[in-house]
């Protein structure tokens, strides 16, 4: 079946199978920043924004995304907020292997738009679904807190 997606502001008609999930379709279309980790809704590395909201692309049927707007990290490369988040991560030495970074950054990006003056506890709750396989959480948290302080 054919679906219409606006990916990173570009309109696309995509041929999909009704059983396919958005994650696989995006990777098939070469949006390789979208990672596949657990494929069961747990790790958050497959996070993308759908109509501006963070979702698990592994758990969204591609057919149900028909007509919606999808943003991957590629679409944010010129965005000042994206630059500020990645700089904060770099400065705190939290960049590690980076497998989990795209999903984490997208969720931090969404959190910034959604929460006003979150406490550290609020931040942790918002980011609870972003697991890091290299088990780095402390420098990431430091970076995210800094990012919120500077830009608040």
């Amino acid at each position: 079946m054919k679906i219409a997606l606006t990916i990173n502001n570009v309109k696309k008609e995509v041929e999909i199978s009704p059983s396919e999930f958005l994650l696989d379709v995006l990777r098939r279309l070469d949006y390789m920043s979208v990672k596949k980790g657990c494929d069961t809704g747990t790790c958050g590395v497959c996070t993308v924004l759908m109509d501006g909201k963070p979702v698990l692309s592994c758990s969204v049927l591609a057919a149900s995304a028909d007509g919606h707007e999808i943003t991957t990290i590629e679409g944010l490369s010129e965005d000042p907020e994206f630059k500020a988040i990645s700089n904060a991560l770099l400065e705190e030495g939290a960049d590690q292997c980076g497998f989990c970074s795209p999903g984490l950054i997208l969720n931090v990006y969404a959190m910034k738009k959604e929460l006003k003056n979150p406490s550290e506890e609020d931040m942790k709750k918002y980011l609870v679904g972003n697991l890091c396989r290299c088990t780095g959480y402390v420098p990431q948290m430091r970076a995210i807190k800094k990012y919120f302080e500077v830009k608040a």
Binding site: P18, S19, G41, T47, V60, L61, A63, S64, N107, G129
Partner: protein, 260 residues
């Protein structure tokens, strides 16, 4: 793996129901997030996002939540934030991750009567009715006992009353399933509602304890009665014995909180 032959976006509940009944192997799809974890073949997946079931509103002192509304939309809604001392939002936010709540629907959460569900426990502790397209309106507790297999959740209706709510759970980390959960609420007439879930079966009401607490003030005893009138089982998350031990504690904490 789920295998879907055909995908269809219904324009109304009527149309969705007609397809559900007339197409062999047709199924309603919420987000598909939970369905995909099982293995099934679906001939026709019926998507409800354009069927007009996305809303949270107040009518006649009742909170009405459309069956295709996502948990994320519900938790961010002002009506929900203000209701039941903010505890309903807290309970919603305990469900997995922001990214999952942005896709999982309330219909997909309630219809399968999942044993581990946190939301069902909380809704049961409030005066909640469910409206099904074919079977009509009924209290949630009746729906949980019925064997309705094919129907559509049109909406959930929560009575908007002055009820204090407390949601309690035991889990190994915040980001995990509840090993046991309990929700307690009370109004100004000492009308208590106590639900215990993830036992691991789907939540049910502790009717004896609710009756006892109407006449008596002994919380400790009320919690004990509630815990004892339930049956528990073992699964990968915890043993029957463990659940039996923590049940009265969770209920007591809930009672203490709503009576504070």
């Amino acid at each position: 793996m789920i295998e879907i032959k055909e995908y269809y976006r219904a324009k109304s509940v009527e149309e969705a129901y007609e397809k559900l009944m007339n197409v062999e192997g047709a199924e309603i799809i919420g987000s598909g997030a939970f369905m995909r974890l099982s293995s099934r073949k679906i001939n026709l997946a019926i998507d409800l996002q354009e069927a007009g079931l996305n809303y949270v509103k107040i009518e006649n002192n009742e909170i009405r939540i459309g069956g295709a509304t996502t948990l994320g939309e519900i938790e961010k809604n002002e009506i929900i934030k203000e209701s039941f001392n903010g505890e309903l939002v807290k309970a919603l936010q305990a469900i997995w991750s922001v990214q999952l709540r942005n896709i999982a629907t309330i219909g997909g959460t309630v219809f399968p009567r999942l044993g581990f569900s946190d939301l069902i426990t909380v809704l049961l502790a409030l005066n909640t009715d469910i409206v099904l397209y074919n079977n009509g309106r009924m209290p949630l507790e009746v729906f949980l006992e019925e064997k309705i297999r094919k129907d559509i959740i049109v909406e959930l209706i929560i009575k908007k009353e002055n009820r204090k709510l407390s949601f309690q759970y035991m889990r190994n980390s915040f980001y995990d399933f509840s090993i046991l959960n309990a929700a307690v609420s009370v109004d100004e007439n000492k009308d208590f509602r106590i639900a215990i879930g993830a036992r691991p079966g789907v939540a049910s009401l502790a009717k004896k304890a609710m009756g006892y607490l109407k006449e008596n003030d002994d919380i400790e005893e009320g919690a004990k009665i509630a815990a004892e009138e339930m049956t528990y089982g073992s699964n990968i998350k915890g043993s029957k014995e463990y659940r039996e031990m923590i049940a009265p504690v969770l209920v007591r904490r809930g009672l203490e909180e709503v009576l504070k």
